[in-house]
Symmetry: C2
Subunit: 260 residues, 2 copies
Amino acid sequence: MIKTISLIGAGNLATRLGIALREEGLQITQVYSRTEESARELAEKLDCDAVWRLEDVTLDADLILFAVKDDALDSVLRQLPLYGKLIVHTAGSLPLSVLAPYSNRYGVFYPLQTFSKQREFEFIDIPICLEASDIESLDELDELAWSISEKVKEVNSEQRLGLHLAAVFVCNFVNHFYTLGAQIVEKLGFDFDLLKTLICETTDKIIEMKPFDAQTGPAKRFEETIINKHLDFLSDQPELKEIYRLVSKSIFEAHKPQLK
Amino acid sequence: MIKTISLIGAGNLATRLGIALREEGLQITQVYSRTEESARELAEKLDCDAVWRLEDVTLDADLILFAVKDDALDSVLRQLPLYGKLIVHTAGSLPLSVLAPYSNRYGVFYPLQTFSKQREFEFIDIPICLEASDIESLDELDELAWSISEKVKEVNSEQRLGLHLAAVFVCNFVNHFYTLGAQIVEKLGFDFDLLKTLICETTDKIIEMKPFDAQTGPAKRFEETIINKHLDFLSDQPELKEIYRLVSKSIFEAHKPQLK
């Protein structure tokens, strides 16, 4: 059973996950970050040691949890004597196999959520996707995951990549469209707040209905006159214009077979 | 003061608006729709007459409210003797001036919301954008709008077009990305529900934070390895791949000046 965790990374995910685990009685033994400042900042929240040199990382915890950027993971792994330790990464798009060269017990612990350092929330509803090198490691990670979430799933590397991609569409891309919407209304002299009722209703709808059935707007019905007015409005922003055109086309194509 | 309304149209917007106005004590005198079925369906909800031939439309109400498709509006207007009547349309992307040939008192009554026939909600938080040919008509529409909403704004035709465009991004396009996310996870054998915690958090975040500050994900940091894996995953869907590429680029370009 996992009781102690060494946390490698101090970003948004490491912060929220560390806090959630600690609240469930797990002990975080140490936080490592490349910079002293972030290591100290998170270590203070977790009441543990901060380290910012890899040679100071101690590996006497039951689990070594890596929450670093995908591109940084390999070089960090390479510098630590991990063999025999249970090690996990938390990345959506990295296969389990990236850990194979470094230990005989390894896994993936991927929470399907967007993390901000400054926002607190309950982990209970966040799906945690698990994968492991062996059944024993999987059982240990399973127990750990259920301690903070009610939505724990076994997900293989290919599926996890797909989930991450879906998350990019429904979270990162959606949020960017909120940014673009804000830019448009602010340029017109209005406050972004003006869009919030619409934004909330758009999300509320799909809690009850399938998003396909909730679709509205000019692209669905291919109302060319409206679409052309919007494209004209974007005439000095060719990249946005192209995004508008392509997404409208995608909506129309998806709904076309439904037209009578 | 407007007390009676003739409703031309029986779609999602006409339905929700008719119900909201009636609940505030306004009398809907008549519902017109091209099809007998939809006219009757809405007239029953509003306890009024249903008509489906333009020659049966009576114009003795204080306001003639048009909630028909943009492309249909002109031909409907042309067939009714409207001069001297207060007439309004409800379209985001049609200028006020389209009504000028048909009466001397006209306006726009545009609620910034996505409407589904089957979803009930309060109008109170929905921004209503008003424009009118003259101050007297504007005052009458203003009083009507405030009876159902706390967010009434005077908005000119150019601004309204921009608001409609912003609404397409934050509602129609966002909803389509929910559909694309659903397709991806369902193809992997999961339920769309798996994404709902993430979707709700994405929206909840921007109620508190600016969407620009809430941005997360591989595009913001231009994590090329992840982006390429996602593009590979979409290799048999060239149009989605192109959307992914363009939106990622737009996110990166927007956040680039912030990088240190």
